[in-house]
Symmetry: C2
Subunit: 375 residues, 2 copies
């Protein structure tokens, strides 16, 4: 858009990242214009958001008659693809969960848009395809997740990378005896020690599946081989990640555990804006940062994810889809906590991969994995 | 020079930083050419260095007849100013101690050379003058000291700074009872807990005078107001310093306590070179970084230095010169450890400052301070 105002659409506006994105927009009312909002089933909140931000484009999976009662002022119902491709859009916040983000991401990149990617399943399932599209078009793909954002910030102005080091809090069960993990309840797994996030990512964080996804995401986003990506446990979640350079120097990015910071960084990049409404790090004095080796037997989902990433082809799409089903089964108390790994492992073992898959082949593998995981 | 070979001169080649600079040169024999070496009194080592690196220009404060016995091959005795201005010189490593570095630094900048500055007394005593010369000429002034180098690395690619945070190990007396500090011996003060350095800087590190110098250096080098420069105690000396940006994000630079890394970074900037002969950080796992507030009553020299920096004019030159004398008096056992502060404070109190001083006025203030401190 003109006048330095950024035209923004948010896919998944009623979820955790969507709401925090709108919080950032509230801090800079003159610098963002919300062009479109898309939500799934939380129609009450979507109506409030449309009332507050007056987007011209709206999309909702569930029927939403309340919106029809609001004065329309030229507002239109559109598809996700149509929304992200609108000429006034500069930045697409892709904050949906799961594969629904895949086609709009590709469409936005094709139009040369900037996509701020919170939905990491998109890049896990279709990393090669999405990165190829970003290279072909003038679009760009920016991380929103705090660890890949930290890596991206550390890489700023640098080009001699030797190693990425992602930090992991270790989740709520870092010290729980291994033989008690099978009894973990959804309520326990949803209590993350340092971050407040949506349900799916909180469970994925407790199994460290999420960290495996971040390894795959970082491999694609930053074009770094898997054997140059390490993970270290850092219970305080203050150091969000680190990069080692060829000369042995290491840079770390540090910040409060508040998603609005990496969200804002993706929205304002390459600028950094002062936001008086987001928290600062407390004083460094009296702080203590500890680091531990990843206890891999405790987190079998992590190894499973990295292996699927290394194998490539349709394996990561199957990983992501099977995990989504398994996490839902766990949240519905139909399987135990340690069964999440077993379900995903079983589905990966059964899979006949396709290499260099097309979008259709990725979507087919995704659907196959969902059926296999649920069966 | 041509062919990507960097022409290098080292002023202070037999000191700690000079020797480590030559270590870096040894790792890259095809990428550096040592044009000149200058030393003070360690003529034995200078002769060895001239034998090994065959510089065409040599300077030595003490008589050095052994050098005359070596085959000259066009080698010439020159002044420091002549050495740094030679057309083959790309980078000047300014690794002398004290005010002797001041005039060659200004001369090198005037010729558009890159000056890698280890001698921080130069920028402490004459910060405004030196930075004005760097701005006027095409020369550049790069930090070598690990903390300012860390700040410089964190600032790479960034322009929205809100705060610099220098780390300090706290020196060997961080936990010694305050009433025992008067009895500290030179031997105790020369045992730095984390860094192996020259004598002067090791004593300055034990009083934290050195950290005050770094605050003044960072103020000038990075053009940041004093009230946006903080110091935090970090006993492990792993995090070399940090920068907070306007959005609240913090970057830290981390590395082993080995001066060859920041030396090499200054010599190869903007590139980072892989050097198999310098140590890497050990694995992050099992590491612990702690941070503490600076205990200012324990380190009165720190406050004295920052105050002198803030006052400006000839005060920092007086600070630096009086400290040099006081440290020597302490090393010669003519004053006690806590007298270093008293000597420097007394001299600063007696000083009648000149603001916006010329080089001559800075040198006069320096001489006055030396006489006053010794008196």
């Amino acid at each position: 858009m003109d006048n330095g105002v950024k035209g923004l659409v948010i896919l998944g506006s009623t979820g955790s990242i969507g709401r925090q994105t709108l919080d950032v927009v509230r801090s800079f009312p003159d610098r963002f214009s919300v062009i479109g909002l898309a939500a799934g089933r939380n129609t009450d909140l979507l109506v409030q958001q449309v009332n507050e931000f007056s987007p011209s484009l709206v999309c909702c999976t569930a029927p939403c008659p309340e919106l029809e009662d609001l004065p329309a002022n030229g507002r239109r119902w559109v598809s996700l693809e149509e929304m992200v491709c609108h000429p006034d859009v500069d930045v697409v916040m892709m904050a949906t969960v799961g594969k629904v983000g895949l086609e709009p991401t590709l469409a936005a990149l094709r139009q040369g848009k900037t996509v701020a990617l919170s939905n990491k399943e998109v890049i896990v399932a279709a990393g090669e395809l999405v990165m190829a599209e970003a290279r072909r078009s003038k679009g760009s793909l920016l991380p929103v997740d705090s660890e890949p954002s930290a890596i991206w910030q550390c890489l700023r102005g640098e080009d001699s990378v030797s190693r990425l080091i992602l930090t992991a809090s270790g989740g709520p069960f870092r010290e729980r005896p291994l033989d008690e993990l099978a009894d973990v309840t959804p309520e326990e797994a949803l209590k993350h020690p340092t971050w407040s996030m949506g349900n799916k990512i909180t469970i994925d964080s407790s199994t460290l599946m999420n960290k495996g996804f971040e390894v795959i995401e970082s491999h694609h986003l930053f074009d770094i081989p898997y054997d140059q990506i390490d993970v270290v446990v850092h219970p305080q979640s203050a150091v969000h990640s680190l990069v080692e350079f060829t000369d042995g120097s290491i840079k770390a990015q540090i910040g409060p555990t508040d998603m609005r910071l990496p969200i804002q960084y993706a929205l304002t990049y390459p600028e950094r804006w002062h936001n008086s409404q987001t928290p600062r790090m407390g004083p460094l004095a009296q702080m203590q940062f500890t680091f531990y080796e990843l206890d891999t037997p405790r987190y079998p989902c992590f190894g499973l994810a990295v292996d699927a990433g290394k194998k490539g082809g349709t394996y990561p799409a199957v990983l992501s889809a099977a995990d989504e089903v398994a996490v839902n089964l766990f949240l519905e108390r139909r399987i135990g906590f340690t069964d999440i790994f077993k379900v995903v492992e079983r589905v990966l073992d059964m899979h006949t991969p396709v290499y260099n898959p097309s979008l259709e082949e990725i979507l087919a593998a995704d659907q196959w994995a969902r059926d296999a995981a649920a069966g």
